[in-house]
């Protein structure tokens, strides 16, 4: 797993970096991009790749471990936990998107956009980013 492309972080966010790491790893496991037994970068590798304090990465990994997303192999290396054999059902994955969409909905209401306007924008954005 290339540590430089494992997760991406945004500075200036209201979301601390350790949470950004947690949420991205959860999404990638939910989507089946990361599966049971897949090795993930070590704390040192990821800290250096992201240029963040190693404690930030180890905090994220520990919380992912206690949430059952990662598990510790012999030694210090971490792998995706055994229960994550395949991608989660679509409904469960969609649920992971809810908090972001709730925030977007609140902002759309503040901006007094209609449902159609907001949904059209979301559709456009989905199309734009299709690789």
């Amino acid at each position: 797993m290339d540590p430089l492309h494992f997760v991406h972080i945004n500075t200036g966010s209201t979301e601390p970096i350790y949470r950004q790491v947690i949420e991205q790893v959860k999404r990638r496991v939910a989507a089946g991009q990361l599966k049971a037994g897949d090795a993930i970068p070590s704390v040192r590798e990821l800290a250096q790749a992201l240029a963040v304090h190693p404690m930030t990465v180890s905090k994220a990994y520990s919380l992912l471990e206690s949430d059952g997303v990662l598990e510790r192999r012999r030694g210090l290396s971490m792998v995706v936990a055994a229960q994550h054999q395949q991608a989660q059902p679509t409904a469960d994955r969609a649920e992971l998107l809810r908090p972001t969409l709730q925030k977007a909905a609140a902002e759309a209401r503040q901006l007094q956009l209609s449902k159609t306007q907001a949904l059209t924008l979301f559709k456009t954005i989905l199309d734009e980013n299709t690789p």
Binding site: T11, G12, T14, P16, Q48, L50, A51, V52, H53, T56
Partner: protein, 292 residues
């Protein structure tokens, strides 16, 4: 303030007072502790006294009152062994301009019992600094890199960085941060640095310290502040009741029109906000502008 020096601190400032000559007070009874292995970003407005504070911490300025201790010793009377454990990158380059980098580094090497020449050679080539031309011919960014190499060469236990990346481009800054993370933090060194580039600070400073009105107004892990600090708006009486109900610690109150105010407050750890209470999350920029 009277207490025994804490030998567990890499640096400890107690009740430090300092005026500029014939000028205003800069440090006003400042208390500050840096524990071994902590990486602390120092935040403050221009003119708040960050450089003065870092110089005082290093024993380069004598406070009018209060005490500064480094590794348990009086900062003004450090022995050579303690001095050799400190690395400092000053805001203004203090390199000997007539020397070449090779001469400068050889000179400094003679002062330190520990010196990692392999690291020096590696950084000199990675950061593209010619060892054999006079320092005055180097660019601002190259001088800053050389100053960083000099400060890292003896693998200090306490590294003090005052605007270390001001002359570096984004790629140079990222490379410097990686070096800090990979080498310095990995060794468990204590690091304190000031920078105006908040994105850099957010990445590597596990702790942030806010210098305001001559004191460290707040020092805490940045993760915790982003998780726990919220901005609330309402009438003054509502706000007082809400703070009491939440057990929140107000950090700053800003009066608004019509008896209303905006309160920046820190919630107790791991408490969720009750339903129906409106609050905004904050980022590091918000914390900087409201707490310094």
């Amino acid at each position: 303030m009277s207490h025994f020096p804490n030998p567990d601190c890499a640096a400890e400032l107690t009740g430090v007072q300092l005026h500029y000559p014939k000028g205003p007070a800069v440090l006003q009874g400042l208390d500050w502790q840096l524990r071994p292995g902590q990486v602390v970003g120092l935040l403050g407005r221009n003119g708040a006294g960050k450089t003065t504070l870092l110089e005082t911490l290093l024993g380069l300025r004598e406070p009018e009152a209060g005490r500064v201790r480094l590794f348990g010793q009086d900062a003004l009377k450090l022995d050579d062994a303690a001095r050799a454990r400190i690395g400092y990158v000053p805001q203004q380059s203090d390199l000997f301009e007539a020397f070449t980098p090779a001469q400068l580094l050889a000179y400094f090497r003679s002062f330190y019992p520990r010196w990692n020449q392999a690291k020096v050679d590696g950084l000199m080539s990675r950061w593209d600094i010619r060892a054999d031309q006079p320092i005055r011919k180097l660019s601002g960014g190259q001088k800053q890199r050389l100053s960083i190499i000099r400060a890292l060469a003896h693998e200090p236990d306490l590294l003090v960085l005052d605007e270390p990346v001001a002359s570096l481009d984004p790629a140079g800054r990222r490379d410097f941060l990686r070096e800090l993370v990979g080498q310095v933090m990995d060794r468990g060194a204590t690091v304190v640095f000031s920078t105006h580039i908040l994105s850099d600070l957010e990445r590597v400073a596990f702790n942030v310290a806010f210098l305001s009105q001559g004191r460290i107004a707040l020092q805490a892990p940045l993760d915790e502040l982003l998780d726990e600090v919220r901005a609330f708006t309402g009438s003054v009486t509502e706000m007082a009741a809400l703070m009491a109900r939440l057990g929140a610690e107000p950090l700053r109150r800003m009066p608004l029109e019509a008896g209303r105010e905006r309160v920046l407050a820190r919630l107790p750890a791991a408490t969720a906000l009750p339903a129906g209470v409106a609050a905004e999350r904050v980022n590091l920029d918000d914390l900087f502008s409201e707490l310094t």
